[in-house]
Subunit: 222 residues, 2 copies
Amino acid sequence: MNALNISVSAKLYNKNPEETELGKRILSKSIELMEEIGYEHVTFKKIGLALESTEASVYRYFQNKHQLLAYLINWYWGWLEVKMAQEFMMLNSAEDKLKRAIQLLVMPMDEDERIPHIDEGTLQRLVVAEYPKIYLTKEVDAENEEGYFLGYKRLCDTLGNLALQINPAYKYPHSLFSTVISAAQSQQFFTEHLPRLSDANKGSGTIVQFLTEMTLNSIQKR
Amino acid sequence: MNALNISVSAKLYNKNPEETELGKRILSKSIELMEEIGYEHVTFKKIGLALESTEASVYRYFQNKHQLLAYLINWYWGWLEVKMAQEFMMLNSAEDKLKRAIQLLVMPMDEDERIPHIDEGTLQRLVVAEYPKIYLTKEVDAENEEGYFLGYKRLCDTLGNLALQINPAYKYPHSLFSTVISAAQSQQFFTEHLPRLSDANKGSGTIVQFLTEMTLNSIQKR
DNA sequence: CATTTATGATAGTATTACTATTACATTTGC
DNA sequence: GCAAATGTAATAGTAATACTATCATAAATG
């Protein structure tokens, strides 16, 4: 049960929250709180209160709410990639790896006991509910240069390369996997809140099947 | 050059903006302003100022910024559907209609001179930059009941039915087209701001090809 | 001509998103 | 064991935001 560190760009915090107790409690509580009341309704004051600490203390770690969300979401993509790398070791074909990757994107996550201060399941639900908000802003270009989106980009690359192993002539690996990852998130959201926009009833099985078919049909040479 | 009216649910405004001059100017100016400075930076005060009117006047038409955005985006989906219906009359096969629909989702739009107070091109760019924000909130279930997302749902249905004409056994028409419509938007955004997440260089051609291939490969019986 | 409707002008409130300062407790380095 | 650095709490203050309310007036309508 050795510790595991997910690396997140230093531009995503004022002061590294992984390095102090309060920092870790901020991560833990803000995931909870954001998932519970929604990003828009969160303020640093409320986080401070929930921590029995203060607004000012939270500001020491993160410049603002947006940066905090970006941190959490990047952490999640980084963690998913580690998780995928582990699982891929047990698989041989690129196709099996892709299938497994799609499952990991969609299936509810268990707590990773190597990282006690972050509840991965809650974080996953947070990502489903909020992830496009980190790039859909007028600051996207500046933040892109700061590395706000590296986690997402890396994950897309990884999956895109698997696709190219299956069919080196496939022309749209980046577009396909940014689409698949987005769809993995939005289909979960739609299934729960806007069911007319999906064909899944409950559970993640249908979403996995839909995405797997779509992915493999797109890649395969014919 | 006869007028054309796009119907938007009455729950999406306090007072129908299409019915007064000021209302139309509010639509026109807020599209411009939101596209220019971004949703987050818009306030009703700024809209009032841009109109040489007042904050209070804007509040008479819309309860808040979120409702205004929802109105504009619904208007856009409604307008797109009308546009598609027109174009479909000139086409015979469901496949051709789907191909054309994807083009309309992605290609830059010309101003529709039947509706002088709305610049469809600017509105399209606004939708690309902001559309998930109308449903990614904790209020989604309540707003769904008010009809905030009808435009999107109807468009998905329409395209899903075309897919079923091609292959009545296809299992995921709703998921596929909510994915394709979302991807049409996000690929435009990525191409401009996060190019590592797409394979398109410039222009909308590559995006259209990618989406068309993905769609047809998914639907087709094999 | 009377009245409804639309708009403008102004004021006010609670909340948010910060910034700054001070003080104190704890850890660490020597 | 002491000094310095670090982490945190407490408090105060500011500018902007998101509204709500009221009143006056102009224009449209019946």
